[in-house]
């Protein structure tokens, strides 16, 4: 337990020190939330106020930010610099390393959600209380799915490759995942493709739970599948050192 706590503390301290992690984890979701709920230029599906769509959508975006981008890029560079190799010679062990990584992502997400929910409520959002349980479950599945993808990139690509691919993927999934523009506004071919990717089902689960209207079954199926496949692929393909 001491080793786990020591590793977790390091993960959190180093994470908080990276300006770009703060930007992607909090800066971008906050900007989207505040800007597009104040300036009503985006379509927002079948809800009356933009905030009712945007608030749950940026909660989904926050999950993707911390578990795909932050985790992936951070771990990719740790592998690049031999940090994982060096830890491998210590008594920490893989199990506690993975546990510390997961916990640090969850701690980050709790902070992200606390800030985003507080701001959204200030902007007039009032979600139904019954929606929180499925939304949190969706967030956990999304964390597994995107965390698996992030670690898959980090464990197979060079450090800079992970940086490029994670950021590119982030942008594509942000636009096609219903996180800014509802899926119903996309061309039908693109919307169908997006449902097979992990972002759209995550957004559907969280916006459906917290925005009323309920969650379509396809979203739970697709999200659960990603939550299983991505971590398994990462576990099988991850390489600890970068040579």
């Amino acid at each position: 337990m001491r080793a786990f706590r020591s590793q977790l503390r390091t993960e959190l301290v180093l994470g908080a020190r990276q300006g770009e992690q703060l930007l992607v984890n909090l800066g971008i979701p906050l900007l989207i939330l505040v800007f597009f709920s104040t300036v009503d230029v985006l379509p927002h599906g079948d809800v009356d106020e933009p905030i009712d769509y945007l608030a749950p959508a940026v909660l989904a975006l926050a999950v993707m930010s911390s578990s795909l981008v932050s985790l992936g890029i951070g771990t990719g560079f740790e592998r690049h610099y031999g940090v994982l190799k060096r830890l491998g010679a210590s008594p920490l062990g893989r199990g506690r390393w993975v546990a510390a990584k997961i916990t640090s992502v969850l701690v980050t997400e709790v902070i992200q959600w606390a800030v985003l929910i507080a701001v959204a409520v200030l902007l007039g959002w009032s979600p139904p209380a019954a929606g929180w349980a499925p939304a949190v479950l969706g967030a956990l599945l999304g964390t597994a799915a995107f965390g698996g993808l992030g670690l898959l990139l980090a464990g197979t690509l060079p450090g800079v490759g992970t940086l490029a691919v994670a950021n590119g993927l982030y942008l594509v999934l942000l636009l096609t995942g219903g996180m800014v523009v509802p899926l119903s506004e996309l061309p039908s071919g693109l919307a169908t493709a997006a449902r097979a990717l992990p972002a759209a089902p995550l957004t559907e689960v969280i916006t459906g739970s917290l925005g009323g209207g309920g969650v379509d079954t396809w979203a739970w199926v697709s999200l659960t599948a990603w939550a299983v496949v991505a971590p398994v692929a990462a576990a099988l393909l991850f390489r600890w050192s970068a040579e």
């Binding site: 080793a3 740790e78 008594p91």
Partner: protein
Amino acid sequence: MTTTGSPTTGSGGEAVVVEDLVIRYGELTAVDGVSFTARAGQVTTVLGPNGAGKTSTVEHLEGYRPAAGGRTRVLGLDPITDHRRLSHRVGVMLQDGGIPTAIRPAELLTQYAGFFERPLDPAELLERVGLSHRAGTAFRRLSGGEQRRLSLALAIIGRPDVVFLDEPTAGIDLEGRDAVREVVASLSEDGVAVVMTTHDLDEAERCSDHVVIIDRGTVVAAGSPAELVRPSDSDHILFGAPDELPVDDLAAHLGVPVRRVSRGEFRVETDPSPANVAAVTAWLAERDLPLQDLRAGRQRLDDVFRRLTAHDRGPDAGDPGGPAARRRGRGRRR
């Protein structure tokens, strides 16, 4: 802290035993039948040119690289299959990398201290490697020498019984070099088995109790520095004199071969005893020839090393495992 007599070291204090170790990367055989022993309380240095197989050998003992053949024991355990157990008792200093660029030295040592049962105090350890004044500076802002010293501190924070140091003084400044030597000396005094690699001969000669010279994956010589530089048939007297010196006359007079090795420099192939030196200078005095300089050439480890590792070197000699060779090796490893 001493391991002598501990159940996992041999009767002679053998902490690391390597027998016929073979390591391959695909087609490339990097280590080809290496054997040596490292004892508790001694500094064992694996010396060799770049690409000789030093790092491969050490990385096997650290638990990173499986062997293709041979038998190895670290504290009586298998370095690969017993890696988890050994990780509590083995300290590692990688050749490069291993530390997050944004971390501060005090944070790094506190982090690793949390992994061990009885760690050294991080603040005292920083003092010992001369980094107290840099405790709060990000790793990437430290000089190369400071980074190496921090990496050394990380290797010993868990009070290990065996320490592997891969090129601990590479690219380090003089002050840092002294700090590393002091730490290495105090470790062996405390009964730790220190295994280090270097391509720096001076370093090997000064710090080691036992030197293993590796070249192209095989051991070409082993012994204490004194044993390796023991007087041998290549001992000589080297002197400078006018270039037209009648070499054959001197050789006939002394009864041993004399060679002109370069312009105005001559080498007498004989034991550099005072009597032999006197014979050479007396002969020069009789002919009124000036003596420009004189070296009674006991071999240094340097000479032994060059002789042992000399093989058809091309124009860019001296570094058979240079960047190009390394790239080839890496490519195969992928």
